[in-house]
Amino acid sequence: MALRLSREAFNHALKDLSKEYKIYAPIRLKEIGRFSETDVVRYGEISMVEEIVTDEKSHFSPKEILFPITQTLFYFTEEEYKEPKEDGKKIIIFLRPCDINGVKRLDQIFLQNGKDKDIYYECLREKVKFFMMECVEGFESCFCVSMDANKTENYAAAIRFGEELLLEVKDDGLMNIFQGLGKETNFTPEFIEENRVKVCLPDVNKITLELFEHEMWKEYSQRCIACGRCNFVCSTCSCWTMQDIFYDENKNNGERRRVWAGCHVDGFTDMAGGHGFRKNYGDRMRFKTMHKINDFKKRNGYHMCVGCGRCDDICPEYISFSNCINKVTKIVGEERKS
């Protein structure tokens, strides 16, 4: 079903949906940016379509909805392990095709890697419906087309923003909400076909240990400051660390949480006793790059990076990941397109 509908009508539907769903979209958070008087665009709950930021890329990806920055795994009372209560509400996320493809990568790690499923992720994931925001222009640093992450069929509804809204509804459960709210029309979303930034991907079969020791990484030893912002804004970085706490007011009670971790950040590999790996920041850049465009593919058959370009947008040292990929490819040779 496809509809042309007014913003009022759409807001009416959102109101209806909010009884059953938490609705997340990229929103503008005023004046909390890195520089004075700058805003941050990140994911938050909305009740009206006007709140959705459609003309800017969100600085953070929607992964924080499925894989929260901090998530309680257990509550401890004395010595008892208690799992947190589930929030019954279902979830709608407004997001672009690259980010839907990003969630596919998170699914791969949390649900497919190893024999156990991560039930905390699964529990949230099962509740989610995607409202795909049509994206035909992209933004300055995007390279989703090169990463083959510019398209997806995996959405419950797709939306084109304008004075009026065009909506394709694929999910049966959503049909009755939107039925009659607008005029039936022909609409299927279009996808971006070309980005300004393009990367050539390396042939993973030609990535050898020589590349690991190549002098190209030295540049990043100088430039990277190991802040980990690239890890945290990435829609596919899925690493985390276990963290236990006890409450100040009652030391017998506490929580076990997981918190985001990043391979660029100090301590990521440190073991009790102090031994760690990749002390050098260039090695960390190599490790992340190889995960995004080499080893994840070797393990799972497709690249991890979706080319959203958020890492390039956020880096305080202006390191460009797309450039880094191109450098790797220049050294080892391009992958053959099938």
């Binding site: 392990y81 790690i109 991560d118 529990c123 236990d244 997981r258 006793g273 031994h275 190889m290």
Partner: protein, 265 residues
């Protein structure tokens, strides 16, 4: 839904002080591990730590735990009868079948002895299943020696040839002094093709010990190592132990040398 992060509560039945900072905990439990596997030890409000299983038998597992961090500091304050929470076992472990009826060399540095101790004890109890077992065991100093009583038992085994060495001796030490690598050339190897080698210890010790065996014309296919890495989950989710496309918690910690040499952190 089964929560893979939920540990089970067990009871500590014995604690042996190996050194001032290494205690062996025996826990009554139904975990039936393979040699060389590990568990996540879980202390509510303190944290979790991956610990290798140093031995096991009917209804119990042993873990030899060095006091080096928050979780292990807490553990060292526990007494027999206290609870210990565990989840696992995790990892691939060693395959005993690989070593049966062969000449086996085990080179272990420091706490690296823990994950291979159950293999040594298996062949100690079943000597008819091994042709010969050479043990090279290295510690920093005499006071760091682990499993003294068991080592003495192993020395009595006719199939075993045990070499204990320390990096630095003291006034009363009359044994070997030097790195494990120095003793590799001295091993009597009647038939190179019939040999299997296991090396476990700190990264540099494993690297250089491996090179010594290669010098002796032992093939990479005959050498096995076990890795130690930071891990939060043990089940392939947290990402800390990943090296290239390999998750140490899933495909390791035991690796064939042919694979291990490709794993660059």
């Amino acid at each position: 839904m089964k929560n893979p992060y939920m540990p089970k509560k067990y009871t500590i039945i014995d604690i042996q002080h190996q050194t001032d900072i290494d205690y062996t905990f025996r826990v009554a439990c139904d975990i039936k591990p393979k040699n060389g596997q590990f568990v996540e030890v879980s202390i509510p409000k303190i944290g979790e730590a991956p610990i290798s299983i140093s031995d096991f038998g009917d209804g119990y597992i042993d873990m030899t735990i060095r006091r080096v961090g928050k979780v292990t500091n807490y553990l060292h304050g526990l007494k027999p009868g206290d609870a210990m929470y565990l989840r696992g076992p995790y990892g691939n472990g060693f395959s005993l079948e690989q070593y049966k009826n062969k000449h086996l060399v085990i080179a272990a540095g420091g706490t690296g002895l823990a994950p291979v101790k159950s293999i040594i004890n298996y062949f100690h109890r079943n000597p008819e299943e091994i042709q010969k077992l050479d043990l090279l065991i290295g510690f920093k100093s005499p006071k760091d020696i682990l499993f003294r009583e068991e080592i003495e038992e192993w020395m009595k085994n006719k199939k075993f040839h045990v070499t204990v060495t320390v990096d630095k001796g003291d006034e009363s030490w009359t044994g070997n002094v030097g790195l494990i690598t120095q003793f590799v050339p001295k091993i009597d190897i009647p038939d190179e093709d019939n040999l299997e080698v296991i090396i476990v210890g700190p990264p540099l010790m494993m690297k250089f010990t491996g090179l010594e065996f290669l010098q002796r014309k032992i093939k990479e296919e005959q050498i096995w190592v076990s890795f130690e890495r930071k891990m939060s989950c043990g089940i392939g989710k947290c990402g800390h132990c990943k090296i290239d496309e390999t998750y140490v918690c899933l495909e390791g910690p035991v690796f064939h040398y042919t694979k291990a040499k490709q794993l660059i952190d």
